[in-house]
């Protein structure tokens, strides 16, 4: 899995590179927009971590030019600006996610993995979170290397949670994914599936657990230390 890190501040570029390499990625760095565009033309990268403040051009311009050149890989923006307009601008320009400086390396790695887990992208086949592995093609789950057989609805729930591991999945999203518009839906169907799944994960010794965010949804998160 190869990432391109576009960041003019050499020290930050190095730290980010070290961080993602520790997480198992391969990474190159580019210090200017021109270098970044040249590197992207080679076509060997799976995702880009792009700083908005570059010496030769604005990061958004680099993003726009890459998108116009047909690049579909995910872009994660890093910005020191956090005004509302900047965020909207970044997402409208074709960014997939953004992080405001300063950020924790764990967060950067988690967001990058989440981007790569999106359907049709590099990580789309096998998703990992903690010691849970989810094979989205074979519909198989392994916890700590051992298979964990799950019914279809619980597999669907886990797939949604693991795609957005570390973030809250709204209950409405789960309902929508589990049942088409036509299916009859009992009001407590989702909580029941989640509660079964939670017990099974605990029983299998998963390092992640499902938390309920009452009134909003569910969250797959590392167990509290």
């Amino acid at each position: 899995m190869r990432l391109l890190i576009v960041e003019d501040e050499a020290r930050i570029a190095e730290l980010v590179r070290n961080g993602v390499v520790r997480a198992g990625f391969t990474a190159d760095t580019a210090g200017t927009g021109a270098d970044a565009l040249a590197a992207l033309e080679v076509g060997i990268y799976d995702a880009v971590i792009l700083d908005l403040g570059l010496p030769d051009s604005d990061g958004l311009e680099v993003l726009g030019r890459a998108r116009r050149a047909g690049q579909t890989i995910p872009f994660l923006l890093l910005t020191a600006r956090d005004t509302v307009d900047d965020r909207v601008l970044g997402l409208n320009a074709g960014a997939d996610d953004y992080l405001i400086k300063p950020f924790a390396m764990d967060e950067l790695v988690a967001r990058t993995k989440a981007l790569l887990r999106r359907p049709g992208l590099a990580l789309g086949v096998t998703m990992e979170a903690g010691n849970i592995e989810f094979d989205s093609v074979g519909r198989e789950v392994r916890v700590a290397g051992k298979p964990l057989p799950l019914p279809r609805r619980e597999l669907d729930v886990l797939e949604q949670l693991i795609r957005r591991a570390g973030r809250v999945v709204p209950k409405a999203v789960l309902e929508e994914k589990l049942y088409g518009q036509d299916d009859e839906l009992e009001s407590n169907a989702v909580p029941v599936h989640v509660s079964h799944l939670r017990r099974k994960l605990i029983g299998a010794g998963a390092t992640l657990e499902i938390h309920t965010v009452r009134g909003v949804g569910y969250l797959l998160e590392e167990k509290n230390r």
């Binding site: 020290r11 730290l15 300063p102 950020f103 390396m105 938390h211 009134g215 909003v216 998160e221 509290n224």
Partner: protein, 452 residues
């Protein structure tokens, strides 16, 4: 009491009216005075002429004495019945040659005023009329004679007659003329000031987000031009000020964040352990402080647009969604308790979200481990955040929204900016924020926004 109008139109009308009244009065007065002067001098000329005429008809009779032989026309003029014109002629020796029989006093009265050739007689004769007259010495066929003539005093009557004529023929035009002048005055003020309405509309659009708007100077009366130009250049300077402030905010953000990013990422490279965990917490606190400081600076510099319709329930639910993982990492939970239907309020979604986030973060930091912070939304446009902490003492409730206020608890987390930001955002929205006791103990913060 408002006697003097504030509007230019009113002032102009009042002044024009006053000036026109005074000028008209002075003009009429002058006209009457001139008229009576002219009448007087005309009267004196006439008297002199008559005296000469009378003297011409004094003849020397065959016996050598002076005699008066008036013509028939003269007899009519000096008809005593009418009493219009009086006369008395004396010879050089003082003997009265002739006079109106009914006005014997004329001789003595005229003589009594010898010092002057002119005289006035008030309430004289059988009809008690006023007269004016003159005494002159003329030469005649019978030698020098002293002639006194008097004329019924109708100088006032002339003036009154002139005034009547004036009133009948001219005076009615004065109010009409005044009215026309007032209308013209009011109209020219109104027309001249019409561009002000456009300027007012334009000025109402100006705020720091639209600081490039300038007041139009086309078609402006020259009297107003300097004012509007001065205001425009004041706007130029203000706009520059805002630009400087914004540049500073942006630069400061970048300058502070870059080293903090290095610090944060650098700590991640170190081996885990108690000292590193502590350092990470310190850096996280500093990160939060810096972003809140910049947030406060930005709130001060740029008023936000708060006119949109925002679903408060959705915004609050998203805040819970966003903060839940962080709360869970701190062994606390957040729950959302709101209606299924949207709760529409007037405002700016990002700012409202920011305000709720600050309150919820505050609650999570103050609630004990393994307790739940509840975020409730009510249909009246309010958000309530309850925790299980120690609550806010009654005497501190007014102060907690001040910047950098941190209470008596020395090791309280945060820099004391979060609630100041909340109160600022709420103020921009025309809403309220208050703190009370939660139903089961702890603090209860309630944000109220205007319903849309």
């Amino acid at each position: 009491m408002k006697l003097w109008p504030h509007s230019l139109q009113g002032q102009l009308a009042l002044r024009l009216g006053l000036v026109f009244f005074l000028v008209s009065a002075a003009g009429v007065g002058l006209l009457l005075w001139e008229g009576s002067e002219a009448a007087d001098s005309f009267g004196l000329e006439m008297l002199h002429y008559r005296a000469e005429e009378l003297a011409r008809h004094v003849v020397r009779s065959p016996d050598g004495r002076a005699a008066f032989k008036p013509t028939a026309a003269m007899a009519r003029v000096y008809d005593s019945q009418k009493g219009e014109n009086l006369y008395a002629i004396r010879t050089d020796s003082g003997q009265v040659l002739t006079n109106n029989r009914e006005f014997p006093g004329l001789v003595s009265r005229a003589q009594a005023e010898e010092g002057s050739s002119n005289f006035r007689l008030e309430e004289f004769g059988p009809r008690q009329d006023d007269y004016y007259g003159m005494t002159v010495t003329e030469s005649s066929a019978a030698g020098p004679v002293n002639v006194a003539v008097a004329h019924s005093s109708d100088a006032d009557a002339i003036a009154v007659g002139m005034l009547k004529f004036f009133a009948r023929r001219i005076a009615w035009m004065i109010p009409l003329f005044a009215l026309v002048m007032l209308v013209i005055g009011a109209w020219s003020v109104r027309a001249g000031l019409r561009p002000l309405a456009a300027i007012s509309r334009r000025a109402a659009e100006i705020d720091p987000r639209a600081a490039d708007v300038r007041l139009p100077i086309e078609r402006l009366p020259s009297e107003l031009l300097p004012l509007v130009q001065a205001v425009n250049s004041a706007f130029d300077r203000l706009q520059e000020g805002f630009a400087v402030q914004r540049r500073f905010t942006a630069n400061a953000a970048h300058e502070l964040r870059t080293p903090l990013t290095m610090l944060t990422a650098g700590l991640d490279e170190l081996n885990h352990g108690a000292p590193v965990t502590k350092l990470k917490a310190d850096v996280a606190r500093m990160n939060r402080l810096v972003s809140q400081l910049l947030r406060v600076a930005r709130l001060d510099a740029m008023p936000m647009n708060v006119s949109a319709r925002v679903d408060l329930a959705q915004v609050a639910a998203q805040v819970v969604e966003y903060l839940a993982p962080w709360a869970i990492a701190h062994q606390r939970t957040i729950a959302f308790d709101g209606p299924d239907h949207p709760v529409m309020v007037k405002g700016n979604a990002d700012e409202i979200s920011d305000a709720i986030r600050n309150i919820v973060e505050n609650a999570v930091l103050h609630t004990p481990p393994d307790t739940e912070v509840t975020v409730g939304v009510a249909s009246d446009g309010s958000v309530t955040v309850d925790d299980w902490g120690a609550g806010v003492p009654r005497e501190d409730r007014a102060k907690i929204f001040d910047r950098f206020w941190r209470g008596k608890v020395a090791n309280a987390p945060g820099a004391g900016l979060g609630l100041a930001i909340v109160s600022e955002i709420v103020r921009h929205h025309g809403g309220t924020v208050e703190v009370g006791d939660a139903p089961r103990g702890g603090a209860s913060f309630r944000l109220h926004f205007r319903q849309a």
